[in-house]
């Protein structure tokens, strides 16, 4: 029992579940900040999947990739939050539904 290992598919199922939770969060929540956080959940899910594959195949590429993902996530969060602050200056609301000017 103690020698058994977790099969790869379970890690991947975890990754998929977290990814889908992230998607649903993006689609459902109306608060811009929370939407952003859901995006972070998605990115983390991808990270898990990358690391798991590395572990099971004795590669190091996935870890490097995961490093890059974190890097990009950092950049994206900083710029995204700056945009939210700029938007908040125009309209003092964080309700995503209020930013509806991008229409016909």
């Amino acid at each position: 029992m103690l020698e058994e290992t977790v099969p790869l598919s379970h890690y991947l199922m975890l990754s998929a579940t977290l990814f889908v939770i992230g998607i649903v969060g993006v689609l459902v929540r109306r608060n811009v900040i929370v939407v952003f956080m859901s995006i972070e959940i998605m990115l983390n899910a991808v990270n898990i999947s990358l690391i798991s594959f590395d572990h099971y195949m004795n590669l190091s590429n996935g870890q490097i990739f995961s490093f890059m993902v974190m890097c990009v996530a950092a950049a994206e969060v900083s710029v995204g939050l700056a945009i939210i602050i700029a938007m908040h200056r125009n309209k003092p609301t964080v309700n995503l539904d209020d930013f509806n000017l991008l229409k016909w």
Binding site: V26, L27, V28, R30, L96, F99, N100, K103, W104
Partner: protein
Amino acid sequence: MLLKLTCLIPLYPLIGSIINGFFGLKIGKKAVGLVACGSMILSFLTSVLVYVGYLMLPEGQPVYEQVVWTWFGAGDFNVDFGFQIDPLTLVMMFVVTGVGTIIHVYAVGYMHEEFSYYRFFAYFNLFASAMLLLVMGNNFLLMFIGWEGVGCCSYFLIGYYFEKKSACDAGTKAFVVNRVGDFAFLLAVMYIFNVFGTIDFTDVMHAAPEKLIYGGEIVTIITMLLFVGATGKSAQIPLYTWLPDAMEGPTPVSALIHAATMVTAGVYMVVRCSVLFNLSPLTMTTVAFIGGGTAVMAATIGMTQFDIKRVLAYSTVSQIGYMFLACGVGAYTAAIFHLVTHAFFKACLFLGSGSVIHGIHGEQDMRKMGGLKKHMPVTYWTFVVSTLAIAGIFPLSGFFSKDEVLYHSLMDGNIIFWGMGVSAALLTAFYMFRLVFMTFHGESRVDPSVHPHESPKVMTMPLVILAGLATVGGLLGIPFHHWWHMHILHSWLEPVLHFDLASALQHSEHMLHQAGQHAPSWTHLLKPTEHQWWTELLLMCFSLAVAVVGIFGAYMFYIKRPDLPDKFTEGQWGFDLVQNKYYVDELYDDAFVQPTVEGSKLLWKECDAKAIDGTVNGTAKIIGWCSRKAQTLQSGFVRNYALFIVVGFISLLLVMF
């Protein structure tokens, strides 16, 4: 060699028309008149040269054909643009160019005060060109171009005073009624091509006795259709209603188009196709009946009209009826003879009436004329000469031509035709002299503010020339041979009208036997008719007497006892019927015009407005509706967009895996 000038004859008036049409305003009235008359004179002189050239042709060649170019060829169907000079064409050419020139000169004076002087002469020359094309064409289609061309120019010229609604309506009516006839004509030409494989006159007329069965359905249908076309152009029953209304046009137009040339185009066409008509006895009878019937009917209406030009219009219809009567009994020479003399005296009568109208400043109602004899002597005397000619008084031209028609209608036709001719002659003499007496004699009923005056020389000279021609024109028909039925015109036209009945019947029998049918007995047709000189003399005296009776009647009614007409006609329903032209116009209106108008309105409202516009607009509306529905996709909600992204991503996954 002189014959090579043929193609120039219709070209001169065409060039004149183009010059007048495009540059008329710039070159001034005098130049316009010079160009117009000059081109007609050139055509006339060229016709003379062509005539001389024709006389120099070798003995065995009756026809000269000049093909200018090949118009089009489509498979088996080849049509040339070519001219044909034979005796019949030459006669018609002289009439058109000669009388045309005279009337052009008259028109220079008559239309002098008009503003659109150049427009008138442009159309007038164009008409002359089209008419020459009609008579000179060497195939049916080229004749049809001329046919349509004269109809078109007639429309332009009738509607010359286009500010008057009645003139525009009259022009439209003329064109539309002509069109009905033209449709039948085209059907006939197509049928001819179907049967013969060609539409050249010479080819068709040579092949006709060998290809068509005498009295068979094919030739009867072809000739009936041709004749319907002729009734449209020449204003016979049932398509004559346009000619009285066409008097809305200026008087030179009435003289040239509706007296001397265009309306005779139908007669020309029938004579040109005489071979075809000779092969169909049923059509000949129809032609004679319609011709005679029209002659009588138009004469009765002419008796009751008060507008001077209307009377002359009905007289034209009646005289052309005479020509068709002659064609119908096979006397084609008599028809052409009457055509020529009619051109002379009718043109003179119309121009004279124009002179009268000009002299009393536009009044056309005869009840407001009278006693003009002393004011307009030249007009009066030329008018009287022409009226005597039309009434058929010896020795004027009308006597000879009318007498020949009557003689042949009795000898080659039957007594009914002769009876119709004689009654028409009586009525003609009566109403023509009624016109003369009401206009020129008696008390002056002219409006006191108007001072009648004689017309200028440029208008009276043509009258004199035409009256002279009306007098001596009978020489064409004076027999130089001791048999009365052979004279100059007859022998001249012989090559064209030559028809060997015996051999045609033989061919027909042959064809019927080949088809396994029995040929009827035609021996009675081959019996030669006997001509006795005393019969003709007797008939001549009889028609002269009839004419004198008519003149006397007019004298009684309008000079001696001018109260008689009113007493006679008061309260008579017959008179009302006749005066209203037998309500034929109203009948046509109810039977044909109103249903067409209503049908067109229906088509307009239902098919065009609802169906077609509806389809086009509906397509646009549907696209708009779809777009509006699609607009809801772009709601501006970011989350909706995100949803669509995810849905698209899933679809991709499903498709890929």
